[in-house]
Each structure stands twice: as structure tokens, then as C-alpha cells.
């Protein structure tokens, strides 16, 4: 249980690991530190067009981060349900980059392999990115085929009648189409992965302060204390 603390001011080991990963992700989001300014007003949830499909509200994500249960966030469907409409981000009175933070959490979930049970949407995200890398755009049939290979082929055949209808109306192609200048897209993606993201001054300062810097100082202390014990 991540929430239980064994020592005063020290998170559990699993939480420390996740927290470390999360805070280093926050570092590359301009204004990412504002997560600590959340006033729990619920504007995000109220504004979210897909919050009905979430098991934890966006506000709840912020609260769980505070409470020290990032694993619970990663095990929830919320981060995968987000449709990236950014309404929560534009309306948030605390200026929190909620959508970006949910992306950061998605990256950690993939990195650490922590997913919600019986909710394989992350596979879809993964395959979607691969499709875009390959063709420069989405190839729906390929996407759904690959998705279903991972999650169960039964669904694939169940969806066949719908696919046929879409095909008749010219909405679905059986062959992938590539965009012009695919090599340039590859260059852009490669460049984006290579270049370090500039870290805002505010963010780096914040990460150095006590309280939230669970990864560095506290971990060191715990490591030292652990050895003694």
C-alpha cells in the first residue's frame, strides 16, 4: 500500500520510485510545477467531456499525487481515457497543465508497465504511434488489426460488419496510404527525441526544494538509513 508511510516524511519505496520518475517527467513540462498549486476546485472534471468514462476524476489525479499514490493513478483508466481536448488546461484557475501531466503519467505507465486491469487502451495508443511513425498518418484498419491481435481477435471479427459499412461509404481503406515527405516526418520525430527539452527555471528550482524532491535528497537519506537498519 503506497499510502502508508513507515517513517515520518518518507514515502514508501514503490511510491518513491514512481515519484522520482514522475517528477523528472514534470521537469520537461513548462509550468509543470504548478501541480502543487491545485486548489481542488473541480473545474477540470466539470469541463471534461469524457470524465463520465473515468474511474478517477482529473481532480482526483491531482489529489492522489498529493496523497502519494501514483500507482493508483496508473492503475486507473483516467489517463488513457483523456481525449486531449485541453479544455481543463485552458480553464484551470491554478494554471496546471493537466493534459500534459496526464501524458507524463502515460509515459511512466508504459515505462514501468503499470496498467489498469481489463482496459487495454494503452495498446491502442502504442500502436497508433507506431502507425504514425510508419505511414506519417493513421491507417485505421491496420491499427485495429494490431490492437485486436494483442487484445483478442474475437473482437476483430465482431467489428467486421461495421468495417464493411465504413468501406462501402469510402470511410475505410484496406490499404495504408503514406503521406508525402514521410522522411521529413521521421526527421522531425528523430530531432524531437534527440533534442533535450529546455527546463524552465521555475521548474528546476521547485524540484530542488524540500517536500517534493522525494527522489533526490529523501531517497539518499532513506538509502543511508536503510543501510544502518
Amino acid at each position: 500500500m503506497a499510502l502508508e508511510m513507515n517513517q515520518p516524511g518518507v514515502w514508501s519505496k514503490s511510491e518513491r520510485e514512481l515519484r522520482g520518475a514522475f517528477l523528472s517527467q514534470l521537469e520537461v513540462i513548462p509550468g509543470g510545477d504548478k501541480i502543487k498549486a491545485c486548489i481542488q476546485c473541480g473545474t477540470c472534471t466539470g469541463s471534461c467531456p469524457v470524465s463520465y468514462a473515468m474511474d478517477i476524476s482529473p481532480r482526483g489525479v491531482m489529489a492522489l499525487f498529493r496523497a502519494g499514490d501514483i500507482e493508483a493513478i496508473l492503475r486507473s483508466r483516467t489517463i488513457w481515457v483523456c481525449a486531449s481536448c485541453y479544455v481543463c488546461t485552458t480553464r484551470c484557475p491554478a494554471g496546471i497543465k493537466i493534459t500534459d501531466i496526464l501524458y507524463a503519467l502515460k509515459r511512466i505507465a508504459i515505462e514501468k508497465g503499470i496498467f489498469p486491469s481489463r482496459f487495454p487502451v494503452y495498446h491502442l495508443s502504442e500502436q497508433f504511434v507506431k502507425m504514425v511513425n510508419k505511414y506519417g498518418r493513421n491507417y485505421e484498419l491496420g491499427l485495429i488489426r494490431r490492437f485486436n491481435f494483442r487484445t483478442g481477435l474475437k473482437k476483430f471479427w465482431q467489428m467486421a460488419p461495421l468495417a464493411w459499412k465504413l468501406f462501402i461509404h469510402g470511410r475505410l481503406s484496406f490499404r495504408p496510404s503514406r503521406i508525402k515527405g514521410l522522411d521529413q516526418i521521421h526527421k522531425i520525430i528523430a530531432s524531437a527525441q534527440r533534442e533535450p527539452v529546455p527546463v524552465s527555471r521555475e521548474t528546476s528550482e521547485f524540484l530542488g526544494t524540500v517536500g517534493y524532491a522525494a527522489t533526490t535528497e529523501v531517497e539518499e537519506k532513506v538509502a543511508a538509513g536503510g543501510n544502518q537498519a
Partner: protein
């Protein structure tokens, strides 16, 4: 110099001593040169610490002291005073800051100790160079100015006035009371705001020593504490103290603009009083810039006024208003070239208002109903005035003088009165019976008209003077056709345009053939062409030497002319006319346009080899006219009066007097061929000038209007401050006047334009934008029994000398329209807090009833907290009052309706006395409180069944569920924000702003009412959001501060000042411009710059600027600063 410096180092408990080795620093300082004694103490600021300091000053005979402790802001004054009590000049003391600048910001003890040594050493080296300085004293003017008369300003004014000192209370609005006057009840006690505020307002009005200045704004502040000179502009109220507040004027006013006092809900008239208990209890006219239509008119006809009256279907009043200032209204309604429409602001939105057509409509309407336009009462005077010429200038002058009572005689050469109105302008543009009616109205005013008398033949100017005429106005026009100067111009069958029109209008037969050519591009040419057409010519061709865009004629006239079948040929000019057989042969040449000439139009150049012949039966030359100056000449042909090079009369620009005393001139004889309205303008000016002349007044300071050029406006201009910008105004097409079919009308002289119907006129008049709010229809003047309205009132600028100033300028309300998710300004029944306050108030639009737009009481009301507050996107701060007034709203809704109330809050802040209890009370009354900020407010209506209410969407964070709550009304608790013009006011009074944009206090805890500028105080919401009790407390505290200073009688002025060494100053004046306090001026006699000690703040900018090093800062000399640097580096 024998220096004996004492160094005292403070531990500040552990604040310094924990990081800096105080003992080591003490030892180190003891060894420095000039240091007589060095010691340390646990708390130097404590009494034992100070006593120790004084003891050593005396015992060791110290002549310089350094205390190393905290920041000078904290304790410099403490130690200075301690030194002074021990007999040492306070400026021989220097403070070294080893707390904020050393111990608090370092961890490493060894390094911090080294740094502390350097800091203390710097002070020791410096103090060795310091000199004893004397504090000067300045007397304080006991008067106080308070800017802003809300509850804060009123409270402070009453308290200061209680002491007997004079208070100037300056308020921008027409009444005092501020925001509190808008409220219904006040939290948490639910006192009626008016009940507790109005007694204070009345009291302000009654106090002898409170000078209440409403409608006033501070324009300039000069001076310093004790001696401010404040320039205040008081806008004209246009209503005098005679006003009895009967309110008749409001019913008469045709103007309606949004009323800020009621939020977006209410409307007010141009003459208004904000609320019944206003102080001063006088109405006021909201008048901004003169509307451009009025400004552009040479006779200052109140165009906006009659347009507004027509909009209100007050057609008779409109006709009366037009008649009031216009002696020839029917003429102007038809033939004026309407500069008013050219300048009309509506032209920036779509098309200008059809002002001229509306004028014609009003007069036609009145004439068709035989409504007598009663002439004004006239007091007769004996002086006789002769007017020569009965054109528009002569008639206007005659009218104005006759109204003033003079015995006016008008002399006219021809048998027809009206000048070119009768002899030039054809009847299809100006029906003759109208002109006759205008003249008979003038005759009724007692004007004597003499026709068939010609100046120079029948009588002379001398004879008129002998007959007892005290003044003569020459308005003989410009009626002589200018010739083209080409061969054959005098051939039979060639007419001049004015002659042709005059002969026809006088009924003299003119032989006209089938083919007629007209030369020229002005209105006379068009009139001549259209008249020729009506006289039976089959083909009429106008020849103009430039192109259409250079034509001087009015564009709409050109269109009408072409529609009737007249051909216009451009870029063609005649060079010869010859008699050929039974017709005229005109040799023409084609032209092209070259560079612009003196008139700004492009000069036509003939194309060689393009000569060709054209044949016509008649040719009418109408290129220009000039005055017939011959009539003014004596037998030898020498004119009596001075002329300009253009052959017009030379007159004084303002007074229109010629070089002969008592002889004035105006109209075309001065202007050259011009327009009806411009001539009328000069006639009016001449009448004023003659009136002044006959009353023996100097011919200066004329009041009659001369149009000023109007600056073009951009799309972001607003016709008045309550209006949207041009680009945001809805477009609406101009109503066009119907005309007779060109095929029928070109054969007779019936009027071409048919006129507006009532409906058309009203529709057109509603397009008016009401520029400048008051449109000067003068209806209020008519209904005001005590005659309290004075539209001529002028602004007043006063310079007021006061000793201290209190700013209590209040706040603005956040405009929630920018938070589009709440639908404010778009959805009905989404109200701002202020609008809801007005709805609750008995003096508001609904008389205190809570009603939706449809007139029904709401079934449920949502109150949304923190709209624009606590929001990174708008205002980060908490507005402090919203939680409580939101609860007040909840209580009042429960009290007055059966509606459910939902409070959407983030954190409920009930911090004040009785607030928490009030919160409990409202909870017990059954208000639903939902913790969660509302995401959006939307209209219901997915199905017809649901339509007509609003849906509030939010997360109920305490149950973690998304909720959609149906309500009928939403009230937004909008943030309190700094006034729009805060930056301007800040500059005026040289004070600072805190990051939130409110005025910055000197210290947030210990000095919340003063500012960094001595003598300028702040109170109320201009310093930050606060409720009424806090505002009153702060205002009272400011009053106490002000009275204490006034009581003291004088202030100390710190001697740390810039000083100019006269012998070094070269008078380059560079320092004059850099001084931020305007303390340096240039002495013209000595040719050097001088510093006003009272204004100088010792900032040192001039010291650094002076290229000759002639300025030193007392207390900051170069030597002192160098010594300080050496001390740090040693």
C-alpha cells in the same frame, strides 16, 4: 582628522550569531584604523544595547558610529535617535546590514564571517568621511484633499472635517456614495446600505468645511508633503443649483444609453440622476464631445438633436428645434451639401445618417399640418443695420440681428429675394413657394426688404451711413460668370451659366436650340444642363476638363443629372468657338492629367494634335463665378474696399470687418463661389460681430461656431463611452429617399426628391449612434420650470493648495464576459453581482423584486464564487468579499422568493466578525452549498420540454461526482479589480502599485494607509479588495494620520539631498530632464541649474548624470562611496 569610530555588532539573538562569528568580527574591527572601540551585544536595538551605545559615545568621545545589525529599514532611525540623544549628529552614524545581506542568506560560517567583516569595514571607512547634516523643517498646509467619495472617502472627510480643517472631496461621478450606494443590504448584519450611508452623504453636503467637488478629476499634482498644488478639472454639469429635482427633464429626453450604475441591465437618459438620494441632489447632463454632425455645421445646427426627436416621433419638436437656429430650414433641408453627413460617425460603421432628408421631413411634416413655428420674442432696439444682398449670408445676418432687436433693412438688386437661392438654384431642387415662405417668416420678424435697388446705382455706402445705418453688411455674392478667355466666347448663343439661370428664373425668355453644350464641372454647370433639358433641349452635353473624381459638383447631383439623360464628357476643353451657318462650332482638345496644382487637384494638360470640332446650337459657360466688385467702385473704377488677389473682399478672419469701419462682409463676396451653408455661417458670424460693434465691445472672443477640422476615427472608436466600438456595432442600411422617375421629371420643374414617410424617417433616425450622449435637442430646457438648464456651461479648472492627499478611488468590477464559459453578456439571466444588487435594491430596475428576464420569479438560483478571482488566468488574488455577499444573496433570495439557492464555492472564507455565524444561519435556511468551481453555464434545450432555463455544470468535489444542475438564474461573484485608469492615477500622485495592480502601501502590516510618497495616503479598495468595515477602519486610520501630521504643523525634511556647486555648473540642463521628482529647474539669470530642496528626494540620478561633476549628493559624496568600496575590498 582625528577619527574616533565606535563599532557595535549585534547578535540579533541567534539570527546573526548562528552564522556569523560575532566575536571574531568584533576583534577584527578593533584593529582597523580610526576604530576607537569595538564591541557586541545580544540585541543592539534593546534598551540596554542603546544605552551601551550612548555610554561609549560619551565615554570614548566617539565622532563616528557604526552599528552592524539588521536592515536600515528596520532600525536606522532607532540608532540615529540614540546617537542624537548622546550628543552625536545623527548623520555621523552608519548602519551595516549583516543580517538580511549576510547571515540569513549564507550557511558557511567561516565565509559568512569574512563577508560580515567586509560589510562592517565598508561602513567604518565610509563613516570617517561623513559630515554632520542638519534636518530642515517645512510648514504644513492643514487642508486635505480626498480623491474618491465612496464610503472610505466620505468617512475620512467627515472625520477630518470634525477637526475644523478644510477638506476638498473630489469625486468623478455626479454624486458621492460610490459602490456602497449601489448595494441593497450589507453582510453580515443585513443593514440596509442606503440607510447607513445616506446620513453620512447628507452630512458631507452640509459641512461648511467640506468642499464637495463632483464631476471632478485631478489633472496634475505638484509639490510635496505639506505643500501640494493640485489641479482639478470640474466638468460642466449643465444644470445649475436652481434644479429642484422634479425629474421633468428625464421624461423629455429622447436619449437612452446603458447605465453603468445598474450594470448591463438598466438604461439612463442623457440628463439623469443616478439614484434618488444622490448628493448633490441635482440632475446632470452627460455630454461628451460635441457630435460630429453638429461640429461640422457652419451654423451649428443641432442635427443630432432633431434626429433623436424624430426617432422619438416628436416631429413637431424636431421642426421647432431646426427653426430655432436656422433662418432658412427648408432651403437647407433641400440644397445644403450637408457636411454633417460627411462627418457622421455612422459612416464608419456603414453609411452616414440621412440627416438632410430627416430635416426636410420634419419641416414638411410641420408645414403639411400648418404648425406655426412661432418666432421668438424680440426686444426692439433703435440701431439701424443695412444688409446688401438677400442671399443666404444676407438673410442669416438679417435674421440674427432682427432677433436681437435691431432695425434691419435688406437691399436686393433684382426683383426676386433670396439671391442665388432664387436666381441660381432651379425649382426642381428648391420649390419656389418654400423660398417665399422662408422670406415671409423673416419679414414677420420685422425685417424690411427693398427690391430693385442696386448698390452703386440707386445708392452708395456713404448715403446709407448718412441715413443713419450704424452698420452695413455686404453680402452681394459672386454672381458674375468667369470667362474661359478663348476666341469667340462673346458670339451670340454663348451664355454664362449664372446669367442663363438668372434670366430663366426671372422669366426672361432665352433662345435655346436642340443641342446644348455646357462647359464646367460645378453645381452651376449641372443646374444649367438640367434646366436646359427641361427647357426643351434634346441633347445636352457637359464638357469637363478633368475626370469625374475631380469634379467639384456633389456626387449625388452628378448621378441625378446623368439619370435624366445629360451626357458628361471628361478630359475635354474648348479652345475656340465660331459661328458656323446656323449653329456654333466649338473646337475642342483632349486633355490628360498631370501633377497636382495649388488646389490639390491634378492639373489638366492638353494633348497636342487632338483638336476636333463639335457643333451645338448653344453653349453655356459655367466654369466659375466672381464677385461684381464694380458696384463698390467709385466713378474712376477704384474700389472703396480692400480686395484679395482673387478679387474677393478682404476681411478680418474672425470679425469679418472690412477695412472700412462699420462695414462688414460675408458670403460668396468673401469666400468666392461657395455653398449655401458656408455663406450662412459667415452671415451668422457677421451678425455677432455687428452686435458687438454696436454695443461698443471689442471684436474678439466670438461665440458663433466655426467648424473645426474633425480628426478621422479608427474602427475602435466609440461614439460615446457606453457604446460598443464602430467595428462591433450592428450594420443597418440607410433609408434612401424616393425620387421622381428621371424620364418624367426631366421635362418639368417639379421637385425631384419626394420626401420621407413617417415610418421611413423614424427608421432612418433610429440608426443614429447618439454620439456624445447628449444630442442637444434642448427639450429639457423647454420643460424645466426653474430654468436650471444651461447647455453653454463650461468646464472649470481650479488649482487647490493642500497639505496632504488621501486616495480612496475604489475598484472596478471584473468584466465576466471574458470568461465565455459562464455566458455572461450572452445568456439572459446570467447576472453580475452588481446587477443582482441593483435588482435587490428598491431603487433598481425591478423595485427590489427578483425576476428573470421573462418577468417570472426564478425557481432556482445559482451563485458562482470566485469569478475572475483566485484564477491564474485573470486575478490571482482572493477578492475577499465575494463569499459573504454570495451568502447574503442566498439569504435575500430565500427571503423574497421560493427559489432553491445553490452556492458553488471553492473555499468558504468567513473570516470576519459575525461572518461564520452568518454562514451557519444561511446554511440553516436551507441553502445548498456545493464545493466545486463551476465549469460552465449552458442553455438547456436539447428538447422543447427542457427549454428556457440554464444548466450549471460542475464537479461536486465532496462526493466526487459530475453534476448538471438546472436553474433559472445565475449570479456571478465577479472579482474586484483595480480601476482601469490606475496606472494614470499612480503617475499623477507618484505612488507605486503592488503586483496585483492595486496601490502599494508603505508596509503591508505596520503602515497600510501611507504610501512611499510622503503626504499621500490610501484607503479602501484602491489598496486591495476589502469589505465596508475594513474600508471604514482604514479611512479612519488615514484621517488620524493626516490630522496628526497637520497638527504637528511642520514636517522634517531629510537633508540627504543633491547639491549643485555653482562654480562647476555649466548650465547644460541635462539634470533638469532626468530628475524624476521635477526638483531641478534652470535659473535664467545665473544660467545654472538649481535644486528645490523640498522636492529633491536624494535619489542621485542627477549626480550620476552631471557631466561636470557639479552635483554631489549630501550623505552620498563620491569620497564616501569610494571609501565604502575600498572598505569592502580591503
Amino acid at each position: 582628522m582625528n577619527q574616533k569610530i565606535g563599532v557595535f555588532i549585534c547578535h540579533c539573538g541567534t539570527n546573526i550569531a548562528a552564522t556569523v562569528d560575532v566575536e571574531e568580527v568584533t576583534q577584527f574591527m578593533a584593529q582597523q584604523p580610526n576604530v576607537e572601540y569595538s564591541t557586541n551585544n545580544l540585541f543592539m536595538c534593546s534598551q540596554p544595547g542603546q544605552l551601551m551605545l550612548q555610554r561609549y559615545i560619551k565615554r570614548k568621545g566617539l565622532n563616528g558610529v557604526v552599528v552592524a545589525a539588521c536592515s536600515p529599514q528596520m532600525h536606522e532611525l532607532t540608532f540615529r535617535k540614540a546617537c542624537e540623544e548622546a550628543g552625536l549628529n545623527r548623520y555621523l552614524f552608519q548602519m551595516a546590514n549583516i543580517r538580511e545581506q549576510c547571515s540569513w542568506i549564507h550557511d558557511d560560517r567561516a565565509q559568512a564571517t569574512e563577508k560580515a567583516k567586509a560589510i562592517v569595514n565598508a561602513a567604518v571607512r565610509r563613516v570617517a568621511w561623513q559630515e554632520a547634516l542638519e534636518i530642515s523643517h517645512v510648514k504644513i498646509n492643514p487642508h486635505t484633499m480626498i480623491v474618491g467619495a465612496g464610503i472610505g472617502g466620505i468617512q475620512a472627510a467627515l472625520e477630518i472635517a470634525e477637526s475644523g480643517n478644510q477638506v476638498y472631496l473630489v469625486e468623478r461621478e455626479s454624486t458621492i456614495g460610490g459602490r456602497m450606494a449601489q448595494f441593497d443590504k450589507t453582510f453580515p448584519t443585513l443593514d440596509c446600505a442606503a440607510c447607513i450611508l445616506t446620513p453620512k452623504m447628507v452630512s458631507v453636503g452640509h459641512r461648511k468645511n467640506i468642499n464637495l467637488m463632483t464631476l471632478s478629476e485631478v489633472e496634475k499634482v505638484e509639490g510635496f508633503i505639506g505643500n501640494f498644488t493640485v489641479t482639478v478639472r470640474t466638468k460642466a454639469r449643465y444644470v445649475t443649483d436652481a434644479c429642484t429635482s422634479c425629474g421633468a427633464c428625464v421624461k423629455a429626453c429622447p436619449v437612452e444609453v446603458p447605465n453603468w450604475f445598474e450594470g448591463l441591465l438598466g438604461k439612463k437618459t442623457a440628463i439623469y440622476k443616478l439614484f434618488p438620494q444622490a448628493v448633490p441632489n441635482t440632475y446632470v447632463i452627460d455630454k461628451e464631445e460635441t457630435p460630429p454632425c453638429i461640429e461640422a455645421c457652419p451654423i451649428r445646427q443641432e442635427a443630432a438633436g432633431y434626429v433623436a426627436l424624430i426617432r422619438d416621433r416628436k416631429f413637431k419638436e424636431a421642426a421647432q428645434l431646426i427653426r430655432l437656429r436656422n433662418p432658412l430650414p427648408a432651403v437647407c433641408g433641400r440644397v445644403c451639401y450637408h457636411p454633417c453627413e460627411t462627418e457622421c460617425n455612422r459612416g464608419y460603421v456603414d453609411q452616414p445618417i440621412a440627416i438632410q432628408h430627416l430635416k426636410r421631413f420634419a419641416l414638411d411634416w410641420a408645414r403639411q399640418r400648418n404648425i406655426e413655428l412661432v418666432p421668438p420674442k424680440i426686444e426692439r432696439r433703435e440701431e439701424k443695420v443695412a444688409i446688401i444682398g438677400s442671399g443666404p449670408a444676407g438673410l442669416t445676418c438679417a435674421h440674427d440681428l432682427a432677433v436681437k432687436g435691431y432695425q434691419v433693412t435688406v437691399y436686393e438688386r433684382s426683383s426676386l429675394l433670396g439671391g442665388l437661392l432664387g436666381l441660381g438654384i432651379p425649382a426642381y431642387r428648391l420649390p419656389r413657394h418654400l423660398l417665399r415662405e422662408e422670406i415671409s417668416y423673416l419679414r414677420d420678424l420685422g425685417i424690411d426688404f427693398r427690391t430693385n435697388v442696386t448698390l452703386g446705382k440707386s445708392f452708395s455706402l456713404e448715403q446709407l451711413k448718412q441715413q443713419g445705418f450704424k452698420a452695413i453688411f455686404l453680402a452681394i455674392g459672386a454672381q458674375s460668370g468667369v470667362k474661359i478667355e478663348i476666341p469667340g466666347e462673346n458670339t451670340e448663343g454663348v451664355y454664362s451659366g449664372v446669367d442663363f439661370l438668372r434670366r430663366f428664373n426671372l422669366g426672361v425668355r432665352t433662345a435655346l436650340g436642340k443641342k446644348v453644350a455646357v462647359i464646367g464641372g460645378g453645381n452651376t454647370a449641372l443646374d444649367a444642363a438640367r434646366t436646359a433639358l427641361r427647357l426643351g433641349a434634346e441633347r445636352v452635353v457637359i464638357h469637363y476638363r478633368r475626370t469625374r473624381s475631380e469634379m467639384p459638383a456633389s456626387p449625388y447631383e452628378i448621378e441625378d443629372t446623368e439619370a435624366e439623360g445629360v451626357a458628361i464628357h471628361y478630359l475635354i476643353a474648348p479652345i475656340k468657338i465660331a459661328k458656323a451657318h446656323r449653329s456654333l462650332q466649338m473646337t475642342c482638345v483632349n486633355m490628360q492629367l498631370g501633377e497636382p496644382d495649388a488646389s490639390g487637384r491634378r492639373r489638366p494638360i492638353s494633348i497636342s494634335g487632338s483638336e476636333h470640332q463639335l457643333e451645338f446650337d448653344n453653349i453655356i459657360v459655367a466654369i466659375s463665378q466672381k464677385p461684381e466688385i464694380e458696384v463698390l467702385a467709385d466713378e474712376k473704377g477704384v474700389p472703396h474696399l480692400a480686395l484679395t488677389p482673387w478679387g474677393t473682399l478682404q476681411v478680418d478672419q474672425d470679425s469679418l470687418v472690412t477695412n472700412q469701419e462699420g462695414v462688414f462682409a460675408g458670403g460668396d463676396v468673401v469666400l468666392g463661389p461657395s455653398t449655401v451653408i458656408a455663406s450662412m455661417g459667415l452671415g451668422r458670424r457677421a451678425a455677432e460681430s455687428i452686435d458687438k460693434y454696436l454695443n461698443g465691445q471689442p471684436l474678439v472672443d466670438f461665440k458663433t461656431h466655426m467648424p473645426k477640422p474633425i480628426v478621422p476615427r479608427g474602427e475602435t472608436f466609440r461614439p460615446h463611452r457606453y457604446s460598443p466600438m464602430f467595428k462591433d456595432l450592428p450594420k443597418q442600411k440607410r433609408v434612401e429617399m424616393s425620387k421622381l422617375d428621371p424620364k418624367i421629371r426631366n421635362r418639368d420643374f417639379s421637385e425631384v426628391e419626394i420626401g420621407f414617410s413617417e415610418e421611413e424617417a423614424v427608421r432612418e433616425a433610429t440608426r443614429c449612434l447618439n454620439c456624445g450622449v447628449c444630442v442637444e435637442c434642448l427639450e429639457c430646457v423647454k420643460v424645466c420650470d426653474p430654468e436650471a438648464i444651461d447647455h453653454e456651461m463650461q468646464d472649470r479648472v481650479q488649482q487647490i493648495k493642500v497639505g496632504q492627499i488621501l486616495l480612496s478611488t475604489g475598484y472596478d468590477v471584473f468584466d465576466a464576459r471574458v470568461m465565455s464559459q459562464y455566458g455572461y453578456g450572452k445568456l439572459d439571466n446570467v447576472l453580475s453581482g452588481i446587477e443582482f444588487e441593483r435588482m435587490l435594491s428598491a431603487t433598481g430596475g425591478t423595485g427590489g423584486k427578483i425576476l428573470c428576464k421573462n418577468g417570472q420569479p426564478p425557481r432556482a438560483v445559482a451563485v458562482i464564487h470566485c469569478v475572475g478571482s483566485r484564477d491564474e488566468n485573470y486575478h490571482k488574488y482572493c477578492s475577499r468579499v465575494c463569499c459573504m455577499y454570495a451568502l447574503k444573496f442566498a439569504h435575500l433570495v430565500k427571503d423574497r422568493t421560493k427559489a432553491e439557492v445553490y452556492q458553488f464555492y471553492i473555499d468558504m472564507r468567513a473570516y470576519g466578525k459575525g461572518f461564520e455565524e452568518f454562514y451557519k444561519r444561511v446554511l440553516l435556511e436551507g441553502t445548498n452549498v456545493i464545493r466545486g468551481k463551476v465549469a460552465e453555464v449552458v442553455e438547456s434545450g436539447w428538447s422543447n420540454k427542457e427549454e428556457g432555463h440554464l444548466i450549471v455544470r460542475c464537479e461536486d468535489t465532496l462526493i466526487g461526482k459530475f453534476r448538471e444542475i438546472p436553474v433559472d438564474m445565475v449570479v456571478l461573484c465577479s472579482a474586484l479589480e483595480p480601476r482601469q485608469d490606475t496606472a494614470k492615477v499612480r503617475q499623477l500622485f507618484s505612488i507605486s502599485l503592488s503586483p496585483d495592480g492595486f496601490f502599494l502601501e508603505r508596509h503591508p502590516k505596520l503602515d497600510p494607509t501611507s504610501t512611499m510618497t510622503d503626504g499621500v495616503y490610501i484607503a479602501g479598495c484602491c489598496q486591495g479588495p476589502k469589505d465596508i468595515p475594513d474600508t471604514v477602519a482604514q479611512a479612519s486610520s488615514a484621517a488620524a494620520r493626516i490630522l496628526a501630521t497637520a497638527q504637528k504643523g511642520e514636517v522634517e525634511i531629510d537633508p540627504i539631498r543633491a547639491q549643485i556647486k555653482e562654480e562647476l555648473c555649466s548650465g547644460c540642463r541635462m539634470c533638469n530632464s532626468v530628475c524624476p521628482y521635477f526638483a531641478i529647474s534652470f535659473d535664467e539669470q545665473k544660467k545654472i541649474s538649481i535644486i528645490n530642496d523640498a522636492l529633491c528626494k536624494g535619489c542621485g540620478t542627477c549626480v550620476a548624470t552631471c557631466p561636470a561633476s557639479a552635483i554631489t549628493g549630501k550623505g552620498f559624496t563620491d569620497q564616501q562611496i569610494y571609501a565604502e568600496i575600498e572598505g569592502v575590498l580591503a
